[in-house]
Amino acid sequence: MTSLFSIVLAAILGLLAVASAIGFILQRRATEPGSIATVQNLNARIRSWWIMVAVLGGAILLGETSTVVLFAFLSFMALREFWTLTPSRRGDHLALFLSFFVVLPIHYVLLGTEWYGLFSIFIPVYAFLILPAVATLTGDVNEFLARSARVQWGLMLTVYSISHAPALLMLETGTSPALLLVYLVVVVQLSDVFQYVWGKLLGKHRFSPNISPSKTIEGLVGGGASAILVGTLLYRLTPFSPLQAMAISTVIVVAGFFGGFVLSAIKRDLNAKDWGYVIEGHGGVLDRLDSITFAAPLFFHIVRYWFT
């Protein structure tokens, strides 16, 4: 894996260098207040990309354990962002405490020890049954169904779904599992970046102003097609043939798009613009991982079913 992985990492760092250079030139050219703000945000995003690539690349280079620990931490941050915006009542306190400090760690330990059977049902079955049971002990029936649903959604989105990205490391496909993770992350994130670039350059028709005012049809089509093209060309990282890579990238891109869309809908419902503030220019961890929440489980199961 090392040689292929180093090539991919070098390519990404090269791309970032080009992006930084373009950002620098744009910054010197921008004159109107509106375009200055856009360029500043663009450059903040690029700076954050350097950090994100360094953190994820470093974790993958260090090995499987550090990758799993990194994703456990990202899930923790994402779950915190989810609950910072989502209302909860006193009666949810114990269920929330258990979500953060019992369910999340156990789920990632099951992942780290590759106990796949329990890993795949722990949150959908056991947490699903136990957490509402715990919540009944406080006797607060106010909005009980909605509250239990929020607790479960928080875990499913930020812990269960996201963990399917590092879960790729436990699949034996004959190729390097770390490269599968890199492939997923590259296609999903490039799709987001391409959609942003296409949208800024050519975007006219809003896809759904209610949910995501910045998403345009031009951005979606152009960005999605570009990401699928890259996903097809990168087939050598994977056990897929070029045609399979194209089909699978399409699934990743469409799922990623709806991941971003569903999480935006939740944000609008909660009257928020961003999930958090820790990643400069992007918002929160969940703003960056929203596409992964939908793409990771689908990609994981496609690979697990057909390629192991």
Partner: protein, 206 residues
């Protein structure tokens, strides 16, 4: 020896509950001030201290209740050594002035952090302010009083629970106020309380 422990405590609190700061009504200048905040949980003192930038934090002394923070060696260590707290008696013996140590801090040109509700409220409602803040404001007319609103602490560590849920807490710093000439105690306390409530609703942007 104590400095790294203080840093670690701040880092730990920031990882656990974010302790983010939003300076809406003033800048984080290292000048002598009376910070006052709403009081929901035992960690609000640590939350504000972790939200302050280093230059401000090092000159700010939270005022804490001796009947809680002075009851065990560990709590006393956290309060007095890590947070540089001034411990006061909530039910002082007659003929003593519980605010005397607080005034000494302000006389030295340093800042204090107080919770004028006196006790942790159990609801989202902010309780009426007790009069200590009015007395301090009267004795130090040239010191700005800066309102702080802490959100989510009710959900992070509610009264009656020992379990911390790591939701993000944001400390919003409002516009400084002082006692107006001729302003009555009740009037001032109500006005100070209103500035904190205003910050709770999102408040006017800086």
């Amino acid at each position: 020896m104590i400095a790294p422990i203080r840093r670690l405590l701040v880092l730990f609190v920031r990882i656990l509950i974010g302790a983010r700061s939003e300076w809406r009504g003033c800048a984080p200048d290292p000048v002598s001030r009376i910070y006052f905040a709403n009081h929901n949980s035992h960690i609000d003192t640590v939350a504000v201290m972790a939200a302050l930038p280093y230059q401000v934090r090092r000159m700010t002394h939270p005022v804490a209740a001796r009947d809680y923070w002075g009851t065990s060696a560990f709590r006393r260590f956290i309060a007095e050594k890590c947070l540089r707290a001034v411990l006061i008696d909530r039910k002082p013996p007659p003929d003593t002035d519980p605010l005397a140590p607080v005034e000494r801090v302000l006389e030295e040109g340093r800042s204090i952090l107080i919770f004028p509700e006196g006790t942790r409220s159990t609801t989202d409602e902010i309780a009426p302010f007790r009069s200590g803040i009015f007395r301090l404001a009267g004795r130090f007319p040239n010191v700005d009083l800066v309102p702080i609103h802490l959100d989510n602490l009710q959900r992070i560590l509610p009264k009656g629970s020992m379990l911390i849920v790591p939701i993000t807490c944001t400390a919003r710093f409002g516009k400084p106020l002082r006692v107006e000439p001729g302003e009555e105690k009740a009037e001032f306390l109500a006005r100070a309380r209103a500035t904190v409530i205003e910050l709770a609703d999102g408040g006017p942007a800086a």
